[in-house]
Symmetry: C2
Subunit: 225 residues, 2 copies
């Protein structure tokens, strides 16, 4: 499958490499490839600069959002939640039309310090905002409930956890679920339509507190039943 991964941070790098490893043709989408590739320092989260990562992943192209999206069947939104709508607008609605849009972003607001709060919650979600802004994209919210490494390599935990899909298009959810299973996720719960993304985005506050209490992001929610 041809995939465009939007976002050059830890999540974007990790998901892009994992998709390529599984045989997909992957392009990383970013605002300005020349500028992004000219950076030599790690970002605020300690993620290596994209140029170093791209050198290690020669099969993955880096392109502007619109160019990355144009030929892709699958778009992965791994941008910062506060910048996602703008990034997708730069890609152009015509390049998202009919595409499966896997939205991993969380709408975190760091403007009032740590822990971040949510820019949207409870009566709306980033997943819904994206679906409303791009009504012909087939948005599926998933993977926003665990750390990047475990999104891509869930078997690195000693026990299988649960991941969730939310979206209005059943076929798009099936496509995403197959990718999740290829990643190694054994338990995927379909929560329902895209409004159920409110629930998984609102997992972030307890996720952040668990990160602090456990001293590691290496954990996942499992729904025991």
């Amino acid at each position: 499958m041809k995939a465009a991964v939007f976002g050059t941070g830890r999540v974007g790098q990790t998901i892009a490499a994992r998709l390529a490893e599984l045989g997909h043709t992957v392009t990383i989408g970013t605002r300005d490839p020349e500028t992004t590739l000219s950076r030599t320092a790690a970002d605020a989260m300690g993620t290596p600069p994209l140029a170093a990562w791209a050198a290690d992943n020669p099969g993955i192209e880096v392109a502007r959002f619109a160019d990355a999206a144009a030929g892709a069947e699958l778009i992965v939104n791994a941008t910062n939640g506060s910048a996602s709508l703008d990034a997708l607008a730069q890609a152009g609605a015509e390049n998202l039309d009919g595409k499966v849009l896997l939205d991993i972003a969380n709408p975190l607001d760091f403007s009032n310090g740590m822990p971040p709060t949510l820019l949207v919650k409870d009566t709306d979600s980033l997943g819904e905002q994206i679906q409303r802004a791009f009504p012909t994209a087939r948005v599926v919210k998933a993977l926003n409930t665990l750390t990047a490494e475990l999104q891509a390599y869930p078997a690195r935990l000693p026990e299988s956890g649960t991941v969730f899909v939310s979206g209005n298009d059943p076929a798009a959810k099936t496509t995403v679920t197959e990718i999740l299973k290829d990643f190694g996720h054994q338990d995927v719960i379909d929560l329902g339509d895209i409004t159920t993304a409110r629930g998984t985005e609102m997992l972030m506050p307890v996720w952040l507190r668990l990160y602090s209490a456990l001293g590691t992001p290496a954990f996942n929610f499992k729904i025991v039943r």
Copy 2:
């Protein structure tokens, strides 16, 4: 331990009976015992009327909030989240002073239909509101993340899940954790101070969606790590 359980709904009945079964001396607290005991119909959630339950649990007294709280070492808030602050005010701050106050309530707002939203969230929580209103009570938020039966009898799930404690008083959290272990909870995570109740109260939206997707409330979150 002498315990007062506030609330006559499913959670109050279940927790009161479980505490009594474990040897504690339990009083159910309610606004007006005569009126509550005169009801003969099940409530909106299908919970049997208190009189029938009281007849099955002759060792458990029913009393006004203040009378129930006066002699208790442990207060359990199992009232509706929208009525909790009022119920605790009726108990009287002097009757909560120095007591361990286990807060199980969720601040759900049903006024806009289903699924309910949260009356308070993200930058505050019901647990914090209670702690601020009764600064000498030792508030511990716990058990608000699973259905009543599994709060009291977690071993009825095929696999052990996780429960959480949030509170400012370490000794109160230890007391609550011991009760949780007596109930059968094997994995109790101390999330930190009472502000971490924001995280567990914000689990409600995904809990409600999971209830709908799974068709049963018989599930729990487990933190795999």
